[in-house]
Structure formats: C-alpha cells, structure tokens
Amino acid sequence: MLFALLGILIGVVVGLILPITYSPTYALYISVAILACLDSVFGGVRANLENTFDTRIFISGFFGNAILAAFLAYIGDRLGVPLYYAAIFAFGGRLFDNFASIRRILLFKRGARKKKEEIKEE
C-alpha cells in the first residue's frame, strides 16, 4: 500500500514535469483506461494481502483491462451508444469490492494480533 501511494506520488511529479499532451478527443478513452488501471492496482494489493498475487496476471490485467476499456469507449462512440458506462460500472464496482476486501483483511489482521496479545498478557 505504501509503495503504491509513493509510486502514484512520483508518477504525479513526473507527469507534471514532462510536457506531454494529447488531443482532447482521446480524453474519454484515456480516463476510462485510467479507471481500469486503478482497479488493477487495487486488485494487486488485495491479491498480495490474500497471498494469491501473480505477476503475469497483474501485468496482463493492468494493460489488458485498460486497452479493453478504452476500446469499448471508442466503439461506443462510433456506434452512438455510451458503452463506456459498462467499463465505468464494472471497474468502479470492482474498485469498491477490492477496497472492501483490503479493508477487511487489514482490520481483521490487526484485530487478530490484538487478540493474540491480549491472550498472551493473560
């Protein structure tokens, strides 16, 4: 978790320094892709806490989900149907799901530790 926050911070600084811009036409696709990436990072943290983390799954998910989400938004734009809602709902929902799992794991771990300490003290 700490590494993730630190990494985002460094990324923000790098992004602010580098003068990279793209056409506003792509803004929608990129934003949906960002949502997918965010979900992947949360998923990675959760998997790590559950000890099921796999590098290949993480990396393929990070890029695959982002590309798929952006592609979906693009297709939706072409068809005149706001398909990016599908990506927003799916990844948004998963984001909260992952966060809920992380929360539970962290809270229960600490709770368990405290209980153990209490038992020892007794």
Binding site: A4, G7, I8, G11, L16, L18, I20, I30, N48
Partner: protein
C-alpha cells in the same frame, strides 16, 4: 519476504505509471463529456455564424467611427469655424433620423379606400371598412421591407405615433384622418410594393378578400413631411453616457 519485495517493486512501477496517466489526463482540462448530437452541432454552427456576423458589423461600425473621429481631428487642427459646421451637420442628421425633417426619395404611394360598392362583400359590414388594425399591419409590412420614412395623409409616422380607431376615422399623432388613406413610404420601391401586394401580406388579403380599394404605385420621388407637432418627455429621462 522475497515475494513481497517483488510484489512491491512491481506495484511501485505500475503506480508510477498510474500517477503519470492521471496527471496527464488532469492537465488536459476536460470539462465535460456531453454527447455531441447532430442537432447540437448545427446549433453551435449557427451560433458561431451569428457571432461572426456580429463581429463583422461591429468592425464596420468601428471603421465608420474612426472616419468620423479623423474628420473631427482634422477640423480641430484647422480652425474653430469648421467645428460649428460639423456640429450643425450632426444635428441635421439626428433630426432626420428622429423624423423632424422633410424627406424625399423613391418609394411607393398606397391609396386605401373603403368598399364603395352598394353590395356588401364581407361577412359583416365592418369587413368592408378600413380599420386601425389594417393600417398597423400594412405599416409593419412596410417596415419589414425596409421603409425609411412613412406618412399617412400627410402625418409623419413617428416611433411614438399612435394609430387609434375613432369610429369612422383613424387618429394618428392626435389628428383625426378619414378615408381615403394615402400611405407614403420611402425605401426600395420594389420591396415596398411587394410588401403590400405579394400573396400572404395583409394588403393582399384586404384587397382580395374584403374588396377594400388598395392601390399602390411605385414612384421615383415621394415627398414625406417631417413631424410638425410637439413632443415632450414626461417620464423618460435620457441616461448620459459614462454614468
């Protein structure tokens, strides 16, 4: 331990990428993702065209004002007598715009008369008589066609002129006028003629359905007198520029 550090390094790298993406997206300053429909494109296009037209008009206005300013500055350098002339010229122009001076120019003369036949053509007898509303409608048609000065039976139609029904007569500028009504208008004669005679105009309707005598002639030289009455502001007060 080894697995965790590997996880952390990967997470670190991808978090950098994520933060980078987020910031570049934020730097785009995208305000909204409203769907663009064909209609909204059309509306926006029209707005842009209107704005362009307005800009053009304003630019031409600026040019005119610049010319006036140059004129005044030129006179300022020469002598005091000339500025007097320019001011009088300005007053004359303002008077003409206000409708206080006699005007001359190409235009049309419309003669309107009640139905003179013994036989009633309309549904009611009042359909065969010219009303204040008929005159108002025709005046509006003339104004749409670009009439620059209008008079009715020698009464100049001013911005504040009333056209009021007074039984068999019509009151304009406080004066009672009876039939036949002679409406004179200065402007593009063809346009003015069309404004009274083209199908769909009020002049055409009363001429063909109510059998009211409406005769219009294009003339090269129409004389329209200035407003002869007095006009005083009772309630309205001019606001000085810069206040």
């Amino acid at each position: 331990m080894k697995k965790i550090s590997k996880f952390n390094s990967i997470l670190f790298v991808f978090s950098i990428l994520l933060g980078f993406l987020i910031v570049t997206q934020m730097k785009q300053n995208v305000e909204s993702y409203n769907l663009v429909t064909l209609k909204s494109i059309q509306v926006t296009k029209n707005e842009i065209n209107n704005a362009h037209d307005e800009i053009k008009e304003m630019k031409s206005l600026i040019e005119i004002k610049k010319g006036e300013l140059k004129k005044i500055e030129k006179i300022k350098g020469n002598s005091n007598e000339n500025i007097h002339d320019v001011l009088i010229e300005g007053v004359e122009e303002t008077k003409a715009i206000a409708g206080l001076t006699d005007m001359e120019g190409p235009g049309i003369v419309i003669k309107m008369q009640d139905n003179q036949d013994t036989e009633i053509k309309g549904v009611e007898i009042s359909d065969d008589v010219i009303h204040d509303m008929d005159i108002l409608m025709i005046l509006n048609d003339l104004r749409v066609a670009g009439a620059e000065a209008i008079s009715i039976n020698g009464q100049r139609v001013m911005p504040m002129s009333e056209i009021k029904c007074g039984g068999p007569i019509v009151k304009i500028n406080g004066k009672s006028l009876g039939t036949p009504f002679i409406i004179k208008a200065i402007g593009d004669p063809k346009l003015l003629y069309a404004a009274v005679n083209a199908p769909g105009t009020h002049g055409y309707e009363i001429k063909n359905f109510n059998k009211i005598n409406v005769k219009s002639n294009m003339e090269d030289n129409v004389f329209i007198p200035g407003y002869s009455g007095r006009f005083k502001f009772k309630h309205a007060k001019p606001i000085k520029e810069g206040d």
